[in-house]
């Protein structure tokens, strides 16, 4: 299934080709998506799915907009 994927800041390096229309297996959870992309889990500070804060158990639906953000704490 197709999703719109945004990888913030340093996570950009894990972006697949055509992240804006990214193909992933159906019914993946956010945690599974992170592993699918090869992102070390401890790099992810939060995930946003369709405009809402998600948990690792949140299921990603067809055409979902998913944003993954690393720890950003600089000042």
């Amino acid at each position: 299934m197709r999703i719109h994927l945004v990888l913030e800041a340093i996570l950009e390096r894990y972006a697949p080709e055509n992240a804006g229309a990214c193909e992933i297996p159906a019914e993946m959870t956010v945690g599974e998506l992170i592993r699918h992309l090869g992102i070390p889990e401890d790099l992810v500070m939060f995930a946003i799915v369709d405009g809402h804060m998600a948990t690792r158990e949140t299921v990603v639906r067809e055409n979902a907009s998913v944003s993954l953000c690393p720890y950003i704490c600089g000042g």
Binding site: V6, E8, A9, I10, V30, G31, I34, E41, D42, L43, V44, M45, F46, A47, I48, G51, H52, M53, A54, T55, R56, S67, C69, P70, Y71, I72, C73, G74, G75
Partner: protein, 265 residues
């Protein structure tokens, strides 16, 4: 600006305070109540009305961190007329601060950031006062402040600061920056805040990406806007919400922090 207001120079308020024994900030607020206005605020016009400007003059803000975010926030608050700013930072200015920190100049290297903050604020606006605190915020009790501004670097002490803001029963305006990405959020006491998501982690992006100057100035600008609106009784747009900004793609979005538990893997 109301045409009926009498515009006065800074010196008028300084002279009054010297004669009355009251603070300059009290004199400014009292003068506004009597139909006067410091001439320096005239271009705040209808965005900050006289009652707002008087509220700002009476306000006390705790600024935690006077580095990248804090130096810029200080500048905005001082120019806006926030009467008293408690500037808290135990660090001195080092050469690696120079890429983004407003207070870091050739002449300030090696000096306490909060002492430089005092001088900068005095130069910008003599009607405001900065109280320097050269110890960690962890050893400070915040009494009588209206807002705390979280301009810390790193995640280590963020939650502790959020807890202090809750203990003081005041809003906390926070930001975090890395590369071209900025996060900004406002936390009301006993509500979920950005610090809970940061979770004390030490593997954050900025350690690799660094922090370019425009990103820190942008985030600080949003923090200052939030502080000024809170102080003047306006709604806080970021209360319980997180703004995520990507300055590389000029992409901006916000999400509620209240809709789920912090995502921690």
């Amino acid at each position: 600006m109301n045409a009926d207001l009498s515009l006065l120079p800074d010196q008028a308020y300084l002279d009054r305070a010297a004669l009355s024994g009251r603070s300059v900030q009290e004199e400014v607020a009292a003068g506004i109540g009597n139909g006067e206005m410091p001439a320096r605020y005239q271009r705040n016009a209808r965005t900050l009305r006289p009652a707002d400007q008087a509220r700002l003059a009476r306000a006390r803000v705790a600024l935690i961190g006077c580095g990248g975010l804090g130096g810029h926030v200080l500048e905005f608050l001082a120019r806006s007329g926030v009467g008293t700013i408690l500037a808290c930072d135990p660090d001195v200015i080092e050469i690696h601060n120079a890429n983004r920190q407003l207070l870091a100049t050739q002449g300030t290297l090696g000096r306490f950031k909060v002492h430089v903050a005092c001088e900068r604020a005095a130069e910008v606006n003599p009607l405001v006062r900065v109280e320097p605190i050269t110890i960690s915020f962890r050893d400070v009790i915040f009494q009588g402040v209206d807002v705390i501004v979280d301009c810390l670097g790193g995640a280590t002490h963020r939650k502790e600061l959020q807890d202090k803001a809750t203990a003081a029963n005041v809003p906390l305006v926070s930001a975090g920056v890395s590369g071209w990405t900025a996060l900004v959020s406002t936390t009301w006491p006993n509500e979920t805040g950005l610090a809970e998501f940061m979770n004390g982690r030490e593997n954050s992006s900025e350690l690799v990406q660094g922090i370019p100057s425009p990103t820190v100035g942008f985030a600080a600008s949003l923090q200052a806007a939030e502080v000024i609106r809170i102080l003047t009784g306006a709604p806080s747009a970021l209360r319980g919400n997180l703004l995520v900004a990507d300055l590389a793609e000029m992409r901006f979005s916000s999400v509620s922090l209240q809709t789920g538990s912090p995502y921690s893997i």
